[in-house]
Amino acid sequence: MNKNFNTVGKSVRKIDSLSLAKGNAKFTDDFPLKDALHISILYSPHAHAEILSIDTTDALAIPGVVRIFHHENVPAVLHTTAGQGFPEPSAYDSRMFDSKMRFVGDRVAAVAAETKEAAEAAINAIRVEYRELEPLFDPEKAMEPGAPRLHGDDAKMPIPVKYDSSRNLAAEVEIKFGDLEKGFQEADFVLEDTFYTQYAAHCAIEPHTSAAYLDERDRLVIITATQVPFHARRIVSRVLDIPIRDIRVIKPRIGGGFGGKQEVFLEQLVGLTTWSTGRSCKIVLTRPEVFVSSRTRHPMRVTLKTGVKADGEITALEMDALMNNGAYGSHALTVLSNGGSKVLPLFNKIENIRFIGHTVYTNLPVGGAYRGYGATQTYFALNQHLDMIARKTKQDLVSFIKKWHIKEGETSPVFQALGEGKEGVAQIIKSCKLDECLDKGATAIGWYEKRNKRLKNGPDKVRGVGLSVSMQGSGIPKIDMGAASMKMNEDGSFNLYIGATDLGTGSDTILAQIAAETLDVPVENIIVLSSDTDLTPFDVGAYASSTTYISGAAVKKCAAKIREQVLGVAAKILNTDAGGLTVRESLVTDTKTGKSVSYSDICTYAMYSNDQFQIQASASNIAAESPPPFIAQFAEVEVDTRTGKIRVLKFVSAVDCGQPINPALAEGQVEGAVVNGLSYALTEDYLFDSKGRMTNPRFWDFKIFTAKDLPEMETILVDSYEETGPYGAKSVGEIAINGPIPAIANAVFDATGVRLYETPFTPERVWKRLRKEKYPGS
C-alpha cells in the first residue's frame, strides 16, 4: 500500500467553486434560451379519481397558449420515472399523462405558452370533470382484500420479481438464513418493537428544472438538473419514440440532488414540447410543486424482533418492513432491499435471520431515491435494539458493538443473497476501521464521562448520549458502470471526459485529482468536462454512493493508459526504453542518463514530429464488489422534560471511507448528510389533511435546519485504505445520514429512560411519550 500521494489526500480547491461563489457558473435556468415557451402543469386536486372529461377550449383561446398536453393527445407509454440502469428494477406503472389520478399532485395536463402568465391562466381555464374514487392512505391496509386498487393489470415489472398491482404490491423481498425458530428458542429474551419513519423531501435548493431546444440540425438538446443524464436520454427516447441519436442531454451545474434528481419526469415533458412544436422551452418547478409532485423519502414501518442470550449474543433476528411508495413504484424494490442489504451484514455473526419486506402503493406522494436509500429507515430499528440489548445485558454499547460487528476478512451471506433486483455479490470485507471510529467518536463526545449519568441542566432539563453505527456500499457491484476518456494537449495538460455527474458533491474535482495523481501533474492541468451525452462516455450517474469508487477507478485506468503512451514517446525522444523512465511533476527522466523531457515537449513531439498521433485513451469500469464505508455517530442531547423539546448539543461522526481523495470534500459530505439527518430526525415532516393534500409544502413549514439550528459538530475521518478502490477510496456520500435518528433516540433514552419509536421527534411526540411512560414532571 503506497500512501505517498501528491494530490490524493489533499484538500485541493473544488475546481468549480470560485466560479460558483462569483455567480458565474450556470445552472439549468441560467442558460439564455431565445423565445422559450414556458411550461406549467395542472395537478389533480383529488387523491384518487378518474378523469371523465377534459375541455381545453377556453384555455387554448388564451393569447400566447401554444399547446396543451393531456392523456387524450399524448401517447401513453408505460414507463418508470426512476432513473436506474436498464432494465430498471422499478415497475412500469407511469404514463406522461393518465386518465386516472393517483395522488393530489398527479399530473392532469401541461400547458406550453409564450409567457408564464399565459401558461398559468390556461391552467386555470382547463375544465376537468372527475369521478372521485375511494382513496387509500393507510399502507397497512393496502394489501387487504377490497382495498382501493391504484394500478391496472397493464402495470408490470420489467424484471422477473414479485409484483402484484391487484394487491397494490409494488415489491416484495424475503431472505432467510439458518433456523429462525430455533434461534428464538435458544434466546434468553426476545425483543420486539415497531418503528416508524416519515415522508421527507430532499430540499435541494435548486428546484427541479429542465429546458430543451432543437439544435441547428434539428436534434433535441435537453439541458437538465439531473443526476442521471444517460438514463434520462434512454427514458426520453423510449417514452417519446425519438431515436437516441437525435437526443443530447447536458447536465450543467446542478443545485443539489440527494436522490431527488435521479428521477426522470420533466425531461420527457420538455422533450415532448420542443419535439412537437420545434420551439425551445423550459420548466422550473415551484417549491410547493417540488414538495408535492417530485419524489420523497419513502416512509417505512419496521418491526424488529431479536432473540438474545444473556451474554448479548443475538441468536435470531427478524426484520419485517412495510414501505409506502405512494402512487407510483419508483425505487420500490431497491430501497426496500437496501433496508436489508446495507444493514444486516453489519452484524454478521447472527446465524438465524429473516428479512421480509413489502412495498405498497397508496394515494399519497411518490417515494424515490433519497440519500441513505432504505438503510436510513431500518438502521433506526437496529440501533435501538443494539442499545436495548447492551443495556439489558449490562454491557457498554461501544464494547458490545465492537464484539459483534463485521471485521476485515469476514463476510456475510446477505451480500450474496440480496442485491438490486437480483441476487447480490458475495464479498469479503477488506477494510473496516469501525473500532477506531467507535474509539475516536467516544472520546470526542465524552462517552464514558456522560453515559448513564442523566446530568441535569436545571430542574426540567436532562442530558444523555447515544450512539449509532452503520455501513453503506460503494456503488452497485457488477451493475454500475462508469467510463472516462482523456487526451493530451501540447502544454502538458489533459482533457478528462467523464459521464459521471457532479451534483455539487465535488466529483469533478476528485476525479481530476485521481487523474492528476496517476499522471503526476497538478490538478490545474486536468481540464474536466462531464455529463454531456454527446461528448462524454457513458456513466450510470450519481447514485448509490458510486462515483468515487466506480467512476474513479475508470479515471485511474484511463490515466494509466495515457501515462504509458507518454512514457512511450519519451523513450523515443530520449532514445531509451520506457522501463528506465521515472515521472516527476510533468517531467520524464531517464534514470540511467539523467536526461529529461517535459510533458509539453512529449505531446508536441507526438503531435508534430514523427509518427504523429494523439495521446489519448478511454477506459470503463465495473466493480466486482461494493466495499462498505463504516461510521460511528454520537449524539449528546438535552431533553426538556416539561415540553418534550430535544436540543442536540453535540454530534460526532467518525467515518471509515477508505482513503479520502479530498478530505475537505469528504468532510463536507458527512456534515451535509448529518445536518440533513438531524433535521429529518427532529423537525421535517409531510403533513396531510384528510383528503391526502400536503398542507406544509414550504421550507419553513416542512422545517429544514438553518445555520442557527446547528449543534456543535465534529467530523473525524479515520485512517483507512481500501485495496480495491482507486487510491484506497471507498464511498462517503450517503452513509452519514443514517446516524442522527438512532443516535438521538438512544441519547434521549440515556437521558430519560424513555424510548422513541416514531420520527420526527417533535416536542409534542416526545412529551406524549414521556407522559405515557410517566416521566416525573412531564
Binding site: 435541494a204 440527494f258 463536507g668 445555520a707
Partner: protein, 154 residues
C-alpha cells in the same frame, strides 16, 4: 411597467409587469447570479443589496424598487467580496454552489456591520440563507476566515 434601476452601478431601463418581483426583473435582464429557490422569502438564494440593505429579491415587488440601487454578488466591490469568495473556496464551503452567491452577500452585509462577529452572530446572520449540501459547518468557518483575512488586510 417601466422604470430605471441602478444595477451593479449601471443605470438600466427595465420593463416588467405589475406582479413581477425584483427577482424576476433581475433574472430577465441577465443577472442570473440571483437564484430562485423558493419564491417565499425562505431560502435566501435570491438576496441582493437594495439601497445597501440585504433583502430577498423575491419579496420585493419590482414596482416598489423604482429608481433603486441594486447590488448582486457580481456588483460587490472586489476588495471586500474577493476575500469572502476566496474564503468560501478555501474553507470547502461551496458544494453545489446554488446558495453561495446569497451566502456571500449575507456575509458581506454581516462583515460591513460587524467586522469581527462571533459564531453566534454568524449563525444568526446566515439564518435566512438555506443550504442543504454543507451542513453549514464549513460556511461558518468560511465567514470566520473571511473576517480574519479582511482584518489582516486592513
Amino acid at each position: 411597467m417601466k422604470t430605471k434601476l441602478t444595477i451593479n452601478g449601471k443605470l438600466i431601463s427595465v420593463q416588467f409587469s405589475p406582479t413581477d418581483r425584483l427577482l424576476d426583473v433581475l433574472r430577465n435582464y441577465g443577472f442570473t447570479e440571483v437564484k430562485e429557490g423558493c419564491r417565499d422569502g425562505e431560502c435566501g438564494a435570491c438576496v441582493v443589496l437594495l439601497n445597501e440593505k440585504l433583502v430577498n429579491s423575491c419579496q420585493v415587488l419590482a414596482a416598489s424598487a423604482m429608481d433603486a440601487d441594486v447590488t448582486t454578488v457580481k456588483g460587490l466591490d472586489a476588495g471586500s467580496a474577493g476575500p469572502i469568495q476566496e474564503a468560501f473556496v478555501d474553507a470547502g464551503a461551496v458544494q453545489c454552489g446554488f446558495c453561495t452567491p446569497g451566502m456571500v452577500l449575507a456575509t458581506y452585509a454581516l462583515l460591513q456591520e460587524n467586522p469581527d462577529p462571533d459564531t453566534g452572530r454568524i449563525r444568526q446572520a446566515l439564518d435566512g440563507n438555506l443550504c442543504r449540501c454543507t451542513g453549514y459547518v464549513k460556511i461558518i468557518e468560511a465567514v470566520q476566515l473571511a473576517a480574519e483575512r479582511t482584518k489582516r488586510h486592513e
